[in-house]
């Protein structure tokens, strides 16, 4: 049986980059470990002694095991402190936790990823995984929305992604130089047709879920092929602290990735 002692492993920040004004990307190397294995869609607990810990999704490709990357948005005390850390500083790491994306279910299928804001961060791990295993899926479509062009994360990677996927962007506010969709992400849904029988994975703020369900669930995407990554503020990652429960489910153990048909009637999942 798995044992958890809640002692963070020491990791070194080997790279720090700003993705936008309030989001940074950190590349972390866990000390004393040759490899750090994880699945796309899993999360870690990042901890700064004296400040606390927070659950954060992994953004890098699982093939690279010497280090991993995370994207952190500055919102609370711990994440603000993480912002002040520099390359060469140390940070605590717990995990990885959670089930990750349904890698065996997407095999050979048309895959559509729907990202809102920082929801792109965990999906990037999957995108990079597909970049290295292009035959994994039949096709890849990425819908990515943000408040404004500056808030679109990993902007300098989109041209690489377009080599093996179709990337559609939308922003809620912009100036006249913006050529893509304007409005919330559901603007893209009307403009871009997806193939029947596609698998869709959605990661973003809860207000984004309803438009996705209304537009796709049980229509071009079957309910069992539509996945949501749910965000909760876990304090343990191992199903004890109760902060992430949705009815009978634990986001940290049973999720964070859930098929829509499994949570459709769960009144706490989409609250």
């Amino acid at each position: 049986m798995k044992t958890e002692n809640y002692i963070p492993q020491k990791a070194k920040i080997i790279k720090k980059e700003y993705l936008c004004d309030d989001v940074i990307s950190l590349r972390l190397k866990v000390l004393g470990r040759k490899s750090f294995s994880f699945l796309p869609g899993q999360f870690v607990m990042l901890s700064v002694l004296g400040f606390g810990e927070v659950p954060i999704g992994i953004t890098s490709a699982p093939k690279e095991k010497r280090y991993f990357e995370v994207a952190v948005r500055s919102v609370g005390m711990v994440t603000k402190k993480i912002f002040t850390l520099k390359e060469g500083d140390y940070i605590g790491v717990g995990g990885p936790f959670g089930n990750g994306f349904p890698l065996s279910e997407i095999k050979g299928k048309d895959l559509v990823l729907v990202a809102g804001g920082i929801g792109l961060a965990p999906l990037r791990s999957l995108i990079k995984h597909i970049a290295e295993n292009r035959r994994l899926v039949k096709s890849l479509t990425i819908f990515n929305g943000a408040r404004c062009p500056e808030q679109l994360l990993f902007r300098d990677e989109y041209s690489d992604w377009r080599d093996f996927s179709e990337v559609s962007l939308s922003v809620e506010s912009c100036d006249s130089s913006w050529k893509d969709c304007v409005g919330n992400i559901s603007e893209i849904f009307g403009r871009t047709k997806i193939k029947r029988g596609s698998i869709m994975i959605v990661c973003g703020p809860p207000p984004m879920f309803d438009p996705v369900i209304n537009h796709y669930a049980g229509k071009s995407v079957s309910e069992s092929d539509l996945y949501f990554l749910l965000e909760r503020k876990m304090k343990c990652g191992v199903g004890k602290c109760q902060h992430c429960t949705c009815g009978e489910l634990y986001v940290c153990l049973d999720g964070p990735v859930f098929a829509y048909d499994k949570i459709k009637y769960n009144q706490e999942a989409f609250k």
Binding site: T3, Y6, V75, P205, K233, K235, C236, K271
Partner: protein, 325 residues
């Protein structure tokens, strides 16, 4: 043959135990305290132990899962794991023993929680009650009071057996009465879990939310509420040193299900429902038992006078009425 010990000999037994272990037992509270009369406290050698007490304000979970438990200390970058002390919890009632047993399961599966399992492994449980010892619940020693001041010892473990040598237990040929501990039959109702699962839209939750203060007392005094928060406490004046603590939390508190941009249970009625849902749906599904040992503490200490038995009864009755329709 039964091993017998008399109330007058228990102080001496405890004195011997206290030489080797930190012993905790029911003690009388400060008489000026407005809350409970009794609480678990450290045994002081030579003091007269309390062998009959109605209910302690906090259940003995506080020695396994303390209100504030140090997970580790840190000094600059160095982390020092907390080590559990060898302890005895003496004088647990039947239901408190059951509470500890269930808490053990909660922290053992599906992931083993090392700090708590370590504490349990370093803890000896000695229960006292008038009921016959439980068959399915583990203990080290169980003292059944068969008449006033006369206790029959039942051994539940190797450790418990060696402890017999520390007291003046004597062999006697006597008939030990069988007294079965009975819970409120509501708690054994086979429909209980399904009734709560289907009762999200029952009007009772919004009715309760008008009375309930959302203060979380019921969680703190419950032997089987175990949700928690994790906090770092730096030392003032030496901020590179401090401790990371696990602290009691309550799902009734407003910010319990808050994330960086959303609160998933803003309404008190949803939080009250979740409190019951955890005990009577999620825990039975996860562990095969409910999260209530019927100890009555949440009834005694609820400032709003909410009684879970009334809630259970109404939810069950309405569910059964619905089935008949």
């Amino acid at each position: 043959m039964a091993k017998i010990i008399y109330d007058t000999q228990i102080g001496d037994f405890l004195d011997h135990l206290a030489e080797e272990y930190a012993v905790f037992l029911p003690t009388e509270n400060n008489p000026r305290s407005f809350s409970a009369q009794f609480k678990f406290g450290r045994y002081q050698k030579g003091t007269k132990p309390i062998l009959n007490y109605p209910l302690t304000v906090l259940p003995p979970k506080e020695f396994i899962f303390p209100a504030e438990d140090v997970l580790f200390k840190y000094q600059k970058e160095q982390i020092i794991e907390a080590k559990p002390q060898k302890q005895i919890i003496f004088g647990l009632s039947y239901d408190d023993l059951e509470g500890i047993e269930k808490l053990r399961k909660v922290f053992e599966v599906p992931v083993r929680d090392k700090p708590i399992v370590d504490k349990l492994e370093n803890t000896i449980l000695i229960a006292i009650d008038r009921y016959s010892p439980p068959g399915s619940i583990s203990f080290d020693l169980y003292l059944q009071e068969i008449e006033k001041g006369v206790f029959v010892a039942f051994v539940g473990s190797k450790k418990g057996k060696t402890l017999l040598g520390k007291g003046k237990f004597k062999d006697h040929k006597i008939q030990v009465p069988t007294i079965i501990f009975k819970k409120d039959p509501l708690l054994n109702d086979p429909n209980l879990s399904m009734a709560f699962k289907k009762s999200k839209d029952h009007p009772i939750w919004s009715e309760l939310s008008k009375k309930c203060f959302g203060c979380g007392i019921c969680s703190y005094v419950c032997p089987l509420c175990y949700c928690y928060d994790v906090k770092d406490k730096p030392e003032f004046g030496a901020e590179s040193c401090g401790v990371r603590c696990r602290t009691w939390d309550s799902c009734l508190l407003k910010n319990f299900a808050e994330t960086s941009n959303h609160n998933f249970r803003t309404e008190l009625k949803d939080r009250i429902y979740n409190w019951y849902f955890h005990k009577f749906v999620r825990m039975p599904k996860e562990f095969g038992f409910s999260g209530c040992v019927d100890c009555n503490r949440c009834v005694v200490y609820c400032p709003a006078g909410i009684n879970y038995r009334k809630v259970l009864k109404r939810v069950l009755d309405d569910y059964k009425k619905g089935l008949k329709k």
